[in-house]
Symmetry: C2
Subunit: 119 residues, 2 copies
């Protein structure tokens, strides 16, 4: 999960995609509009390529990575982003399920742009 | 969600249960052993009564409550607990789904006792 944040921060789409399983799903944000819940590595690839083309996210781990006895884990991080020329910080909680090979089977990102704060 | 932490901190089982829907499910911890995933308000009630009888948890919000455009939200908090006479802190990420009446339909708690730290 820390590697995921590193690669996102570096804008390394291929590196990010290598962390995901072929049948992976991404929901980013959770409860978001159509197009924010994608299933299958090809759709996940398009999702990240489009996202990285739009903005250069700079995530920083701002809380613990909380593992479990199962195949899921969760973490809190903070994203810096520019909106209409101003810099904002946004808290994100990612919940991740791993497959038997340790690849990401599903990633669900909890965030709400209404909760972004100027910085 | 902050009310949930307040009521847990106060040991107010009835107050906690009033936040949940009749068909609520609780998974605490996620990926835990049998008995830690309960479904239905009666089973949820037994789960909390047993838990509160064993220990007096003192949760403190240690990160943001992250809402979404859907019916789910997530938060980070820290639990103080005593294990074999020593005091530990444990990070927990709770993921909650709400029903149409704003009651908790499901609560999933991410934590791992292996990650508890002495304090």
């Amino acid at each position: 999960m820390s590697r995921y944040l590193e690669l996102v921060g570096a804008g390394d789409v291929e590196g990010v995609l290598a962390l995901f399983s072929d049948s992976a799903s991404v929901e980013d944000p959770v409860g978001g509009p159509p197009g924010t819940h994608v299933v299958g590595l090809e759709a996940v690839a398009t999702f990240f390529r489009n996202g990285f083309a739009r903005s250069r996210p700079a995530p920083e781990l701002s809380g613990p990575i909380v593992t479990t006895g199962g195949d899921e884990a969760a973490m809190l991080f903070t994203l810096r982003l520019e909106l209409r020329g101003r810099l904002f910080e946004l808290d994100v909680i990612d919940v991740v399920t791993f497959d038997a090979d340790g690849r990401i089977a599903s990633l669900r990102a909890f965030w709400n742009l209404d909760e972004a704060r100027p910085c």
